[in-house]
């Protein structure tokens, strides 16, 4: 039997205790141990980006992270953003600009875009495309996703100027 461990991890601002195999993938821990099924698996080898979450503020593919590596860390998932009746601004623009179709890549895509916006990324399409290059989408052809992020950046710039 694989060695079981116990560790603490901060998930979406809440301290959680995990007990289980040390090398269980972070994605499985999130989905199976903490019922956070917003994080999706698309390829299981770090290519598609559907399982993107934040580990201490850094974007990672949670299918490639053993849970022991998250000990004491902060993990943020799609569940940290808005809810269906209270979308955050980025999610609202994804809705109005057509940034989501089948929705399976969407949580990972939103996490990458969220970090881009949060870190003050510009509203030029080239930078946005660079920032989202690790997230595969087979439905949209990306243009509406890029436009959703542009709209979010512009809206937050307007807000910042007003302050």
């Amino acid at each position: 039997m694989p060695k079981k461990i116990e560790l603490e991890v901060m998930i979406n601002g809440q301290k959680q205790v995990y007990r289980g195999p040390a090398f269980k993938r972070l994605i499985d821990v999130l989905r199976e141990d903490f019922a956070l099924t917003g994080t999706k698996e698309g390829c299981g080898e770090g290519e598609c980006g559907s399982c993107t979450v934040l580990l201490d503020g850094e974007l990672v593919n949670s299918c490639l992270i053993p849970v022991c590596q998250a000990e004491g860390a902060r993990v943020e998932t799609i569940e940290a953003l808005g809810t269906p009746t209270a979308l955050d601004q980025l999610q609202t623009f994804f809705l109005t600009k057509g940034g989501a179709q089948c929705g399976i890549c969407t949580p990972g895509m939103i996490m990458s875009a969220w970090v881009y916006v949060r870190e003050g990324g510009g509203s030029d399409a080239a930078s946005i495309r660079e920032a989202l290059a690790g997230n595969l989408c087979r439905c949209t052809g990306y243009q509406h996703i890029v436009e959703s992020v542009i709209a979010t950046v512009q809206a937050s710039n307007r807000r910042t100027r007003k302050k």
């Binding site: 956070l36 698309g42 269906p84 809705l95 949580p107 690790g134 087979r138 439905c139 990306y142 243009q143």
Partner: protein, 741 residues
């Protein structure tokens, strides 16, 4: 406010954007076991023995084989040749033999490694050409699953009139759908004996029909529910029948719920792909560019079982001429058996294969005649009143010329062609630049009598408290079904979009409105719902309602109209339009109710050092009749174009002895944000009299047009006429070196 023509927010969007939407793997299913599939390691032969390693703990494991199937061992589709589980003979690599279940998913996979199958291996048939030789027989006396011929006019007479005869052979490869959600299915038996299936799928009633022969019981004791589906593109049209059968068989044996979730590798190895094809053109043309004879031979690789191949071939040959009128045509289509996993539905369904050849052939003819590729298209393009190869007279809604002129103007095609020619003249430039054009048509809905045969039904229901519900089997797979059907019903009833709810496709709740395929949802199912909603409105008027209605007045009217009946509902069934005639034997008549049209200009740049091809810009115009939701239509066009750019330039499924060697997203490359150019999209609306608000189809159309435009642009940039997809840098390098030497 009217809904149609508004880019309303997709109904299920908020759940998808927050991770709340539940895909099949997101359901915990308490007490379930996880199913995994033991597949053949050889392409052709017979099973001699199956050994179970006695050192492994088989106690908690459930194993099912063909012998456990209570009914008949086939997956129902067009023919009944494909077994649910191979019992004796193996016809392709990765063919399912056993399904193994364990409460722990990892343990289930581990168990697979403790089963050893002994085979008597036979020589496989791996290529279409080998299959045609018929030295080894896989199917009937000639390995041909289906042969279809279209004849118009007199081919010999046509060639006698020709000033030039242009011949070429084109080849297109497999393509993987690569939906980001892998296939997955759950099954269990309810206490009342109902077999319930839930999962990722396009066609709940296909799954329902496939379960009956395997697990004989009354139709209402089989229930199929679609869960939120993470992309389909045709890849979840027929293969879900197989996975549903596996899950159900294991669930019945284990007497517990079963979940089967494929990982990416298994999904790419075992499930269907786009049919590879070889298309030969021999075209007779007058000096002025007029087409006088088209002799076309289409050969497709069906894989090991019939599955949907006859209908893929049908759509392929019906589009083989391209969107042009020619008086003398012969198209011969054959789809053959090989010892490879069956190929199946993929967006476009045979048409992208033959349209690639047809459009590149126009480029070749233009070059041969030293004629402008625009001029030759203008001369031969389909117009109202034109007769297609099957003798179908195009009576209405022909947007071919409009889409062509739109893209030429918006892209400044002629200017750029000259500009790039000047750029390419200088040897010192680090790159070649090119611009290419293509135009296509796409038949909407099922071919010929298909829609009549389906007899689709859809329902609009009103409850006494004023809830309006759409009941249809049309699935939301990302394309926007839920939203557009609600928009159509809202406008027919003249009520707001938000008042209309759409039922989850569940065979115990919705009528069979046919499969979600063939660009038919909006045009066919939408039209049925439009009629049903109109009848509901009449009933409300008869109950004394007056428009415009506020919410309170509507609820009062609903209570009156429903009266003692509970719910008031209207079901509409597809009826054959009086002016559509099709003969499936002679392949003459109206192949489709109507066609959609698209044109595209692609600009690209090729690095002279690395031969890397970068698409810089795409300009497209697509005639969809009416855009019910322009944002969603644009989403279909941009997404389909991106998928087709992958087909043209990146996606290279490598097979060895019938097994895909790059069955993973690491080395089967689909486009990222950086591989996808900005796109300029113009929606053209040539209304179709039988579509809701004039709407035709859009789902598949954008898949047809990019690949030939890319090949034309590569030709423009380099002078290399490459007739085989994908156009990879290494192929370009080899071809350029061959040209120099």
């Amino acid at each position: 406010m009217p809904s149609v023509s508004e880019s309303f927010r997709r109904k299920e969007g908020p759940e998808k954007l927050t991770g709340v939407a539940k895909y099949i793997d997101d359901y915990p299913l308490p007490g379930c076991i996880h199913g995994v599939t033991l597949r053949s390691s050889i392409a052709r032969g017979v099973i001699k023995n199956i050994h179970f390693d006695p050192a492994f703990d088989w106690g908690p494991v459930t194993v099912v084989s063909a012998k456990d199937i209570p009914g008949q061992n086939y997956v129902y589709l067009i023919e009944v040749d494909q077994p649910l589980l191979a019992e004796h003979q193996i016809r392709h690599a990765e063919e399912p033999i056993l399904v193994i279940g364990h409460p722990d998913r990892a343990k289930a996979y581990e168990a697979l490694g403790h089963v050893h199958v002994e085979y008597d291996e036979w020589d496989p048939v791996l290529t279409m050409e080998e299959s045609l030789d018929a030295k080894r027989l896989l199917y009937a006396a000639d390995n041909v699953f289906k042969r279809i011929e279209i004849v118009k006019g007199d081919l010999d007479a046509g060639f006698a009139l020709a000033d030039f005869i242009v011949e070429e052979e084109y080849r297109v490869p497999h393509q993987e759908q690569a939906y980001i959600e892998n296939n997955g299915m759950a099954a269990w038996e309810e206490d009342d004996g109902t077999l319930t299936i839930m999962g990722s799928m396009q066609c709940p009633f296909y799954v329902h029909k496939a379960m009956s022969p395997l697990f004989p019981r009354e139709p209402d004791k089989i229930r199929v529910i679609q869960t939120t589906t993470g992309g389909g593109f045709g890849g979840k049209e027929e293969y879900p029948n197989m996975i549903a059968g596996h899950a159900a068989l294991l669930a019945l044996e284990a007497k517990r719920p079963v979940k089967i979730i494929y990982d990416r590798h298994e999904d790419m190895l075992a499930t269907t792909k786009r049919h590879p094809a070889r298309v030969r053109h021999r075209t007779g043309v007058r000096r002025d560019g007029t087409l006088v004879a088209q002799d076309i031979d289409v050969l497709m690789d069906g894989g090991a079982y019939v599955t949907l191949s006859p209908v893929v071939l049908s759509r392929g040959i019906l589009h083989a001429t391209g969107p042009y009128e020619c008086p003398n045509v012969r198209v011969v289509g054959r789809v053959v058996a090989t010892s490879t996993p069956p190929n199946g539905a993929f967006r476009g369904f045979g048409a992208p294969q033959t349209l690639f050849a047809a459009e590149l052939q126009m480029e070749k003819i233009a070059a041969r005649l030293q004629m402008d590729p625009v001029a030759i298209r203008r001369k031969n393009l389909l117009r109202e009143g034109a007769l297609t190869a099957t003798g179908q007279m195009l009576r209405e809604s022909v947007g071919a010329s409009t889409v062509l002129e739109q893209v030429l103007a918006r892209s400044r095609f002629a200017d750029k062609k000259k500009k790039y020619a000047r750029w390419n003249q200088s040897k010192r430039r680090p790159s070649w630049r090119g611009i290419g054009l293509a135009a296509v048509f796409h038949g909407d809905g099922f071919t010929g009598g298909g829609e009549v045969f389906l007899r689709s039904q859809a329902r609009v229901a009103l409850s006494p408290d004023g809830r309006i519900r759409v009941d249809a089997a049309a699935t939301e797979i990302g394309q926007g079904t839920t939203s557009i059907l609600a928009q159509i019903v809202a406008d027919a009833l003249e009520v707001p979009y938000d008042w209309v709810e759409v039922e989850t496709p569940d065979t115990s709740k919705v009528p069979d409105s046919g499969p979600t395929v063939a660009s038919r949802t909006c045009m066919i199912v939408g039209a049925l719902l439009h009629r049903a909603a109109k009848k509901l409105k009449l009933a409300l008027l008869n109950a004394g309602a007056h428009w415009p209605l506020g919410r309170e007045a509507f609820e009062r009217a609903a209570a009156r109209a429903c009266a003692s009946r509970g719910e008031l509902d209207f079901v509409e069934e597809f009826e054959k339009p009086g002016d559509i005639e099709w003969d499936d034997v002679s392949y003459r008549g109206d192949a489709y109710g109507v066609f959609s049209y698209a044109a595209m200009v692609v600009e690209l740049e090729i690095d002279k050092l690395t031969y890397e091809i970068t698409v810089k810009n795409v300009v497209t115009a697509q005639d969809v009749g009416k855009a019910i939701n322009p944002l969603l239509v644009e989403g279909q066009i941009i997404g389909g174009t991106s998928q087709a750019l992958g087909y043209a330039l990146l996606e290279n499924a490598i097979f060895d002895r019938g097994v895909m060697q790059n069955a993973q997203l690491t080395n089967y490359i689909i486009p990222t944000t950086l591989d996808t150019p900005p796109m300029d999209v113009t929606i053209v609306e040539k209304p179709y009299s039988k579509g809701p608000f004039g709407a035709k189809g859009v789902g598949e159309l954008p898949m047809d047009v990019p690949a030939p435009a890319v090949a034309a642009a590569v030709y423009d940039a380099t002078g290399l006429f490459l007739t085989e997809l994908p156009i990879l840098p290494e192929k370009l390098c080899q071809a350029l070196h061959a040209q120099e030497n």
